[in-house]
Symmetry: C2
Subunit: 395 residues, 2 copies
């Protein structure tokens, strides 16, 4: 087991009606004036925003609104939030929505505690030294941003999608009412589930070594999502399925499934995420679906580096009983592909509606390798040429 | 899934040498003068205390020492700590040791923030409203107190052992170096493992219902300890086994294995713990061994209330393949008893060296039921007569 730090200070309130605790918790964590951040009109139409505002009013917390966050949230909106927050003297960010809204709120939190342009952090020209406190009312099971140290922002000027990781931005609280996810459409639900499993896999496949109890916990989280996703896709108001997936989304990405892992000093492999970030930066695909479309090519490409690890996944998560490791590994990959297809997820880029030219493959690999200056992955370290080959295999 | 709150703010630093971060972390969390709390001479002989003191010195943190905490920590020592802490103007409690030392430090933290006698909290005459910050350098995998909200203290004047639960006392940080547990003797190691599994079981058997992903995570934690305990007992310096058990001790009791469970509004059953608290309050037995000695009688007594739940445990944790639920349940209980015996743990009270009289059975049940005023358990609710019967079956 490698050395690790585990730090998940987010206070989670989970269950029906917890969104009404927003005001009380903002106050508990020292907020007096909130930037209320959200996406499109659905949180208004559903009445959720009104309930949150009522709870702020009851707690005597002032607020200013900023809606309009889009999937793959934009740095332009973040800059708008920083300007507004500064003008209004905001001291707390409250995100009402999914991972995009939370990531945007975290970025605004960084920006409000910084004199320069917030994109500096995402372009790795600066490291955040502080972040205003963030809380959230979560409406989508997917990114795990509600408990994670991660914030991913897209720069629409250059198509770059970049993530910053720091404990500073971890939410003070996360209010998680599974009923708020009943209205999430089937495709978004399935994309979210693909994302959740991916967050666990990125850590599970960080290297060949076994790390108990982390592996056992990770396998339990993956089995849960694979069991519950078809139920949630088929029956949107299946509370038990929605609740299980919702909680799995947090556990997958709060650090728990990576404790003691980490190859090359990195906790996790993250190659699929990096490969997908370029894809959705360039084409604006749904993140989870993009991950699903890449995974099959990635897993076939890297599996030979340690078939026994994939065989463990196959046996413990996918129920494969084949005794030979390499055959089991392939059967496990096939079984996970079948799961993805069963919930309507793609297993290649055509399934995303994309037909890539050779030049586009080149561009993706060039961007993903930061113009040939970095490798990605730890299960198998991938250079620019490997990245291009995986994109090609996924085509 | 029932509604729940999950709040584990403890910052864990895990790995070789992390004890040297004590001073820096005390300072990070605002401490300027520490009450350095420990047990017997082993932390002195091993040099651990010196390393911790050096780290406090380097961080410019003042300290005053209070050793002498015993297993089943006493309220008299807690009162001594409160008096000393008040006299010396201590603002942080640093526990160096196992769960007893941490529980004692938490109790001192409550006492220093209270005008009355600290036993008021443990006698349920008052509820803590504040607690001075606590951190720990952990030397024993067992109680999970390093991340839990729990503190258990024994009043040697009346033999009562009582627990107080509150988020207020959760450690600010826990420094966990698995090497520090290499010197724990086989019997204490095994007792710790029995305690760890018990913390998960108390939640897993809180009721008949299935709660994914909590059940899957709990099963992973239990399987890990059951696999690794024999290795640690046989080979004291097996780092992987010690590390796995150490981390499992935290996961078992930080709330994770109870999320969404809870019968009768309580998160967990806790009958075995309550039955054992009376036992070790009266006879001063090792907590984990006491739990092991009670478990067999308890499980046979309550299993008929929901055999399917015990059958799931049998199949998913103990590897039982029997299709009939009741037969599988009994086979699972037998398999867990065999595990306990394999690491030198008792499965009845004789195995603890106790031969109880009928009058002693009466007294235990009388005390455990708070003089007949309360029931315990949620998997099956137990009255005073049920408690006596379980003690009798365990005799």
């Amino acid at each position: 087991m490698n050395d690790f730090r585990y730090y998940t200070p987010t206070r989670v309130e989970f269950g029906r009606g917890v969104e009404t605790k927003a005001g009380e918790l903002v106050k508990h964590f020292g907020g007096t004036k909130v930037l209320l951040h959200y996406g499109g009109g659905s949180v208004k139409r559903s009445g959720l925003l009104d309930r949150v505002i009522r709870s702020l009013d009851e707690a005597g917390v002032a607020y200013v609104e900023l809606g309009g966050v889009v999937p793959n949230p934009r740095v332009s909106k973040v800059r708008e939030g920083v300007a507004l927050g500064r003008k209004e003297g905001v001291d707390f960010l409250l995100a009402v929505g999914g991972g995009s809204v939370i990531d945007s709120a975290k970025a605004i939190g960084y920006g409000l505690a910084y004199d320069g342009d917030v994109w500096d952090f995402y372009d790795y020209k600066a490291t955040p030294a502080a972040c205003l406190p963030v809380g959230c009312v979560l409406t989508l099971a997917a990114t795990g941003s509600e408990m994670s140290d991660s914030s991913v922002i897209t720069n629409e000027e250059n198509g770059k999608k970049r993530g910053v990781n720091s404990d500073l931005c971890r939410c003070r609280f996360a209010l998680m009412n599974p009923e708020l996810t009943f209205t999430v459409p089937a495709y978004q639900t399935a994309s979210g589930c693909a994302d959740i499993v991916s967050h666990t896999m990125e850590r599970y496949f960080s290297g060949a070594e076994t790390v108990e109890p982390t592996d056992s916990v990770a396998e339990g989280v993956m089995r849960t999502v694979i069991e519950m996703a078809p139920r949630a896709v088929k029956t949107p108001d299946d509370y038990e399925a929605r609740a299980a997936i919702f909680w799995a989304s947090s556990l997958s990405h709060n650090g728990l499934t990576g404790c003691g892992r980490g190859g090359n000093g990195r906790v996790g492999d993250w190659a699929c995420h990096q490969l997908e970030h370029e894809l959705s930066g360039m084409f604006d695909v749904t993140h989870g679906a993009g991950l699903a479309a890449i995974w099959s090519a990635w897993s076939h490409y890297v599996m030979p580096a340690a078939p026994a690890r994939f065989a463990r996944f196959a046996r413990r998560v996918m129920g494969v009983s084949e005794p030979d490791d390499e055959k089991a590994a392939l059967a496990g990959i096939a079984a996970y592909e079948a799961f993805l297809r069963s919930i309507g997820m793609p297993t290649d880029l055509r399934g995303l509606g994309l037909t890539l030219t050779d030049e586009q493959l080149d561009a993706l690999a060039y961007n993903c390798s930061f113009e040939g200056t970095r490798t990605i992955g730890s299960f198998r370290i991938l250079k620019q040429a490997d990245m291009r080959e995986i994109y090609r295999l996924a085509r």
